[in-house]
Symmetry: C2
Subunit: 445 residues, 2 copies
Amino acid sequence: MVEDKLKGYRSFLRELLNKVGAEIGDEIELRYDNKRIRGILLPRSELEDEWHIVLKLSNGYNVGIRYRKDLSIKIIEKKKAVLAAVKRESLKIREDLPKVHILGVGGTIASRVDYTTGAVRSVYTPEELAEMFPELIDIASIKTKIIMNKYSEHLRASDWERIAEEVAKSINEGVDGVIVMHGTDTMHYTSAALSFALQDLPVPVILVGSQRSSDRPSSDAALNLISAVYFASHGPIAEVMIAMHENTSDNSVVLHKGTRARKNHTSRRDAFQTIDDLPYARVTNGTKIEILVNEYRRRDKNRKLKLKANFSDKVALLKFYPNFDPEIINFLVDRGYKGIVIEGTGLGHIGEYTFDAIRYAVSNGVLVFMTSQCIWGRTNLRVYDTGRYLLKLGVIPLENMLPEVAFVKLMWCFGQEDDPERVKNLMLVNIAGEITPISTPVEVM
Amino acid sequence: MVEDKLKGYRSFLRELLNKVGAEIGDEIELRYDNKRIRGILLPRSELEDEWHIVLKLSNGYNVGIRYRKDLSIKIIEKKKAVLAAVKRESLKIREDLPKVHILGVGGTIASRVDYTTGAVRSVYTPEELAEMFPELIDIASIKTKIIMNKYSEHLRASDWERIAEEVAKSINEGVDGVIVMHGTDTMHYTSAALSFALQDLPVPVILVGSQRSSDRPSSDAALNLISAVYFASHGPIAEVMIAMHENTSDNSVVLHKGTRARKNHTSRRDAFQTIDDLPYARVTNGTKIEILVNEYRRRDKNRKLKLKANFSDKVALLKFYPNFDPEIINFLVDRGYKGIVIEGTGLGHIGEYTFDAIRYAVSNGVLVFMTSQCIWGRTNLRVYDTGRYLLKLGVIPLENMLPEVAFVKLMWCFGQEDDPERVKNLMLVNIAGEITPISTPVEVM
């Protein structure tokens, strides 16, 4: 296949770029209306319009300049970006260090624009990772594998199954820890899924992402990945965790519990929080581990992993709100759903105008569970009439399980069991820290 | 109608209570299995079972004792609760103070069990309020009105319309401020609804609730209500606000913006938080006001209120999650929905397996808006391919509008306008603080 040197550019702009001999990866200058703007010519995707030239500026940001009649283009340096990418040192992997596998799922972390082929590309050979994050080769003996390359919003239950199987494969090869590089959007759903699918873990399994891509000066990718690899190599806790920035300063990373984490900010580097609990640990400057909890499963390579990587599709999560249309519940019942997790208000309430639909669901054998959209705190259906009536209808409250986690767990339960009564019992038992005791160590909000 | 002295008790237990001559409101002692438990006999609702006697203990908690063969009952004091309720002092309302109307919608605040008639009862005459919260009569000249008595999870758009109309009626009578006593579960939905429905407010409109009922020792009802009435009387800000505890200590209340508040804890007294912004003000010890923002609409009784209290039913809020069933979107489109607000992941993303359904919605003239389930932070559909593709599909991002607020606003917009293009434009304009500028004053999480 011949490579398109002007990938994604069409009509007017393609002609204009062709005329001056510009190619993807060149540093060019655009001039118009007495303005000048300089940057590396980026490729475009087919989804985008034909009216913009996109440049990567020296500060790392991309900018799109719209076509206009007075636009002129000057080439500053040919193939600047590609030349930069070639200057790779050959790096040695030290076999005496702890063995860590880094599995690539996708996302912002460890991806960068490939100036020659277009779009964001995952960088995942040990050499490439070491080039981007040279500290890594002094921490662990790393093997990398790209499982898939998807933004995390596109992941489905079948992807969780594949990730769990690949993690299990690595563990069965005797590694000291596994890193999963993952987009942050649904990282807490995947961490919950892995927490249920990977039982009796012998070593740490750490999901790591970044909120800013590695080619931006404010990127959190390096510290998150280095801290995660350090913990995977030396940390004592064998659980599924999420490693992300603890706060806005760039020196500490916390390891959130896989079933108690949530992405609570669209863009901040410390977007993830542990809800109603403490994170397992803190890693400062990528080299110092502090354990923050009293109880955890200790690393033990002799422990035999149990892989239970099946998730059912016939489960839904429904957020209740004023004027909620109960026909949505009836619709799911008629579509053959086996279980519904509701995000109620407050202690776990829903409006009386939904009670008939709840009755319909329960009488058709659909399990209906209650969580709270408050996020923090515990459901309690025994305080008010509404709650007590919901109990009578057969609604099952889930303590302080997060709605997202309850949903993932219910998919997992129906992946293990067919009998609703057994699924119900499984839902009410704490399996992977998803239900914390009533006296939580901290009341963080 | 003859009053049932054993309201809600049936079969065995009713016979047993009758035999000793016990009535609702009596202090009784239950004895069984060498245990004794003493409390006031409470009535029961028809929703409940026939096997439990419910007592209010002296610490304010209710307890249910299950029928058993060895259960015996002794009367300690006849009609103890009713006698207590009769000892009312006659209280003077001072007409020289600022005029405040207190409108009752329902909820935990200012409600207590009526031991003679059953169930939780709203206490709402000025005298009753003054009896419960004697500080009030020194702050304002109060008039009270019960609009309805519903737990807030049962409220619908038609209730918002009625509340808005009643607030407008009070304002048109020339009051200095209006208090709406409201359940906390959906108080932030109602505050958003009132923020859009009541335009050009001349005086403060303050929703106030409590997380613990007034008859419990740890109740937040008194401080919340007293602070709200104080601000309604003396505060300079004429906006729709929510008055609730600022933290776990019992001395400060904050006034949250009606369109930026959220209930973020199921049970804590400081459950409400202002998201990505500062609250308008703080009231300390019910008597000291601090304004926390630079810009606000000042109180001005000459300003003419515009009442726009119409909300459309044909609007839905949908939370996206991995494995989300796109048929739910198709179902809503086929049911004639006019607009859908999606809670996407991260910056405002949804999985590619929903794109066909989005296309179907848009091609049928349904407006599809994007918000984020992260709660904090701003949507941005220009950073990643997924977002840019959603823009191409016609999805409209809503800056940092909260999902719940976006949903209420869309109902309100379709209550004002039929034309989708005008609704779209209205959604993108900041009307009542629901969109804050990009440089927010604080990055609170």
